[in-house]
């Protein structure tokens, strides 16, 4: 009888325990981003001088924090479904590399930037936009990271906005025209060309 009366309470307690455990596992996106940025900064500014290009050295860090699949899927947009699974895999590989190199390029070894964290905006239940102010060489820039909670509970970056310019949106504009003209193969080719250019284009 006693047991029966306390059963709902017990059930509630059990449920709460499970939920709390879940809460502890799922780290706040702000904390995840801070850790990621710290790791990138450590690679860029604290590691011993190296001949290896920065984009290669930061790759392991970014692979932990960036959702390259999600970034590519969003940048390609609704046409994503027109790509065969093989083309999709290739697109993620190529565009991931473009993103990686572009991002690494932003960190120039002249001076360590100062980063202050700002507001976190809830875009939807599983998406957040996290603002930063980056001070570099006497100027301040506003940078924002968009993060999404993955089915596993962890948070990954799916877009970076610099001074309000979204990287994903910027590539979406470029990709749309290319897809319209030449379809998925033209898109893959343009990415390959771009990677070759990045490697050879030295201003």
């Amino acid at each position: 009888m006693n047991l029966l009366r306390t059963l709902p309470l017990r059930a509630a307690l059990a449920a709460a325990t499970v939920l709390c455990a879940g809460a502890l596992r799922a780290e706040e996106p702000a904390a995840v981003l801070r850790r990621g940025v710290d790791e990138v900064m450590a690679v860029v500014y604290d590691s011993a001088p190296s001949e290896t290009p920065l984009s290669v050295r930061v790759r392991p860090v970014l692979e932990k924090y960036f959702d390259f699949g999600g970034i590519t899927r969003r940048a390609v947009g609704p046409s994503w479904r027109q790509l065969s699974p093989a083309q999709q895999t290739r697109a993620v590989e190529l565009f991931g590399e473009v993103v990686l190199r572009t991002y690494a390029d932003r960190f120039q070894p002249k001076e360590r930037p100062t980063i202050s964290y700002g507001a976190v905006v809830e875009l939807s239940a599983r998406r957040r936009e996290l603002a930063q102010t980056v001070g570099y060489l006497g100027q301040n820039y506003s940078v924002a990271y968009r993060m999404e909670q993955q089915p596993s509970g962890g948070w990954l970056v799916y877009d970076v906005l610099i001074e309000g310019v979204s990287m994903v949106q910027n590539y979406r504009g470029q990709f749309e025209a290319i897809l319209q003209k030449g379809g998925p193969e033209a898109l893959l080719k343009s990415l390959e060309d771009n990677l070759r250019d990045i490697a050879t284009k030295t201003p």
Binding site: R74, T102, R128, T133, V165, Q169, Q174
Partner: protein
């Protein structure tokens, strides 16, 4: 059109690379807490989320002409702007270069102040005034941006183009101007307004009151030198932003157009 004005146009053009605006004052916000329940439920939701990057239709009826002007500007950049910048960087020590940037930024206070007031952003106008006073006095005539040490004085830059956008004036078709870069009719009008409000243009014959015509005592050589320095001081950042953006682009023309439009929209909203 003076070099200073030209500089501002290029500067805005570069904006697409998203590089010149001052930092926004971000209120330290509370991290929105996803409750455990919501987080669990979220996982089961349909993963194919709504498209937050659906593109607005691009108003670019002159694309053919624009593309050729873009190409011309790119050549100008490679063969004129970049070599000049390298030279400038070689002969001018970094702290001095930074000083010039801060100085001309401080001089443009009336643009930001008026831009704030015309949008009814009086707290921002007050912050701009505080910034100007602090930088002009403690910052030795604006050469040191002392105001950056006070978070309250870090406000987003306002200008007349943003005022016009806020007032609902349509941007109009995208136009690439020779030398000056990405623009549209609203931006051109806005930059004309910025020019009028910039003290380096306040000479004899300008429309501002006579007692404010700070440049009228200077000889044309001095005025030219000041304009040239204003332009030059913005070059290093312009070049680095241009290169980064250009290198990353798959289709540079579209990348710059999209970047310019996004940047200005974001500025108007801020």
């Amino acid at each position: 059109m003076s070099l200073a004005a030209l500089n501002r146009r290029i500067t805005l053009g570069l904006a697409l690379a998203g590089c010149l605006a001052a930092a926004p004052q971000l209120r330290a916000g509370e991290a929105a807490q996803a409750t455990t329940g919501a987080a669990t439920a979220a996982v089961e939701e349909d993963y194919d989320e709504e498209d937050e990057y659906a593109q607005p239709a691009v108003n670019d009826p002159f694309e053919k002409v624009n593309r050729s002007v873009f190409k011309f500007n790119d050549g100008l950049f490679r063969h004129v702007v970049r070599p000049i910048t390298r030279g400038y960087e070689t002969i001018t020590p970094a702290p001095l270069r930074r000083g010039f940037v801060s100085f001309f930024d401080n001089v443009r206070f009336p643009v930001r102040f008026t831009g704030s007031v015309l949008q009814g952003k009086f707290d921002r106008a007050a912050a701009e005034t505080g910034k100007f006073v602090v930088n002009t006095t403690a910052g030795v005539g604006g050469f040191i941006k002392v105001s950056d040490r006070f978070p309250k004085l870090r406000v987003p830059d306002e200008d007349i183009g943003q005022v016009l956008g806020k007032w609902g004036l349509p941007a109009g078709p995208y136009i690439v101007l020779p030398v000056l870069g990405p623009a549209n009719p609203r931006e051109i009008l806005g930059r004309a307004g910025d020019y009028v409000l910039t003290p380096t243009s306040w000479g004899r014959g300008s429309i501002i009151p006579e007692e404010w015509q700070v440049m009228s005592e200077l000889s044309w050589e001095w005025r030219l030198a000041i304009s040239a320095l204003d332009t030059l001081s913005a070059f290093p950042e312009l070049v680095s932003a241009y290169d980064t953006f250009n290198k990353a682009a798959v289709d540079p023309y579209v990348a710059f157009r999209n970047g310019f439009l996004q940047y200005r929209e974001a500025m108007i909203k801020k």
